[in-house]
């Protein structure tokens, strides 16, 4: 797995982090190889046990009962509905997203634990669909959260949804289902798009920057002009003081 665990105790000054418990120096390549093998095994297992968050927007919800229940039975793929975002892996956006709903979807998405996958289902989440000229409907879902896959159609039939699930599983199995990391890498951009709709004081109770630091996913675009606004409006919601984009040393990973 690519997440590094934060050490409980602070390492002393003479501690070399590249040694193992027997003080043997571990080759960086060896460490990476082991990590990669574990990643592959974990991805392989993960692809076979996915939980969809039981949350539906728009009219696509009507295609999910046959997909999940006995007719098409997605449980044979290991995909089941789950009631809370904290235990779910897949966020299925099943139709048009109004700006108001998008706010709730972002709150939900941020509560889900990584690795998490977003599937945009139906034309409306792709380009607004039949609501393309509506002032209240969001046009491109991927501006606000990283999307792993779109399933086109109005609405896609359960067969198409199953096909999408199979492709997503194959993608995760290959270790390519990493779109969720992009939310941390480019949090500034995503937050900027959100602020364009919800106003500059928009914030969520989730401390995304601290999570990015925890997962070691801080990059050049995690912090920026948009996250600077968080310090102004969201300071009581975050556990860590929000560093300014200029003040923080950026990791090169």
């Amino acid at each position: 797995m690519s997440q590094t665990v934060i050490p409980i105790h602070q390492p002393s000054a003479d501690h070399n982090p590249d040694t193992d418990i027997a003080c043997r120096t571990v080759e960086p390549q060896e460490k990476n190889l082991l990590r990669r093998v574990i990643d592959r095994v974990a991805d392989h297992c993960r692809a076979r046990s996915l939980f969809i968050l039981h949350y539906c927007t728009g009219c696509g919800a009507i295609e999910l009962p046959p997909t999940i229940t006995s007719r098409f039975d997605s449980e044979r793929l290991g995909i089941q509905p789950m009631v809370t975002p904290r235990q779910a892996d897949i966020l299925l956006i099943t139709g048009y997203l109004s700006v108001k709903t998008l706010k709730r979807v972002i709150l939900t998405y941020e509560q889900m634990q990584g690795p998490k996958y977003v599937i945009g289902m139906g034309s409306c989440s792709i380009n607004g669909g039949m609501y393309w000229h509506s002032y209240a409907t969001v046009k491109r879902l991927q501006e606000y959260m990283p999307v792993d896959m779109y399933i086109a159609g109005c609405m896609p039939r359960p067969e198409a949804i199953q096909q999408g699930f199979l492709q997503l599983m194959a993608k995760i199995d290959r270790g390519e289902g990493t779109a969720w990391k992009d939310y941390y890498h480019n949090y500034n951009t995503y937050l900027g798009h959100q602020q364009a709709l919800f106003g500059p004081d928009w914030h969520t109770p989730t401390d995304v920057i601290a999570e990015a630091r925890h997962y070691d996913l801080l990059s050049d675009n995690t912090l920026g002009e948009h996250t600077d606004l968080l310090a102004k409006f969201a300071s009581e919601y975050v556990t860590h003081p929000i560093p300014s984009a200029k003040a923080i040393p950026r990791s090169t990973s």
């Binding site: 700006v99 108001k100 000229h133 209240a136 046009k139 491109r140 364009a196 106003g199």
Partner: protein, 178 residues
């Protein structure tokens, strides 16, 4: 034309007020056009003497040519099972009218809705906070002068599309079903 549905009670009410026109539009529907200032009196009389207890909706129409809002109050009687639609016209500027919340309590929601969608201000309405459009900062969006398409072009970006993707899908055995 079916038999007139204007009962004696209703007739008495309509004679008390300077009514512009009364027209039966369907077997159980009556369209009453009145002057705006007599509307509260009409609702009061209808409620008191003819049993039109249920204000089922207030609708609003924006007429850009005459610079007027048309407000339609739909009243249903459970006794005679008829609907009276009272039409009034108010000028768009300043776009103010009195609330009928004190006569029909459900009017509060309808007035709040019309206030956010059309910008009509109802004096005496208990709450005119944003109701559905809590994430909206623009002008009232149901006005004819609001150009939804221009707003969308300005606010949102369009999805990129490449015809190559369809070829990819077709190579996998999918594609558009003729």
């Amino acid at each position: 034309m079916p038999q007139s549905i204007v009962t004696d009670d209703l007739d008495a009410v309509l004679h008390e007020l300077p009514t512009l026109s009364v027209e039966q539009t369907a077997p159980r529907r009556l369209k009453v056009c009145i002057k705006a200032e007599t509307l509260p009196a009409l609702l009061e009389l209808l409620k008191g003497s003819s049993g039109y207890l249920h204000l089922s909706a207030i609708s609003c129409v924006d007429w850009p040519d005459t610079e007027e809002f048309e407000l339609v109050y739909h009243l249903w009687s459970y006794e005679v099972k008829q609907l009276v639609s009272a039409h009034i016209w108010i000028p768009k500027q300043p776009g103010r009218f009195v609330s009928v919340y004190d006569i029909h309590a459900p009017a509060a929601f309808f007035e709040r809705d019309i206030h956010e969608m059309f910008g009509v201000h109802f004096e005496g309405s208990p709450n005119l906070e944003p109701f559905i459009l809590t994430e909206w900062y623009g002008p009232p969006p149901m006005l004819k002068s609001f150009n939804s398409r221009a707003y969308v072009e300005e606010t949102f970006q369009w999805q990129q599309y490449s015809p190559e993707w369809l070829k990819e899908l077709e190579a996998k055995g999918g594609g558009i079903v003729e």
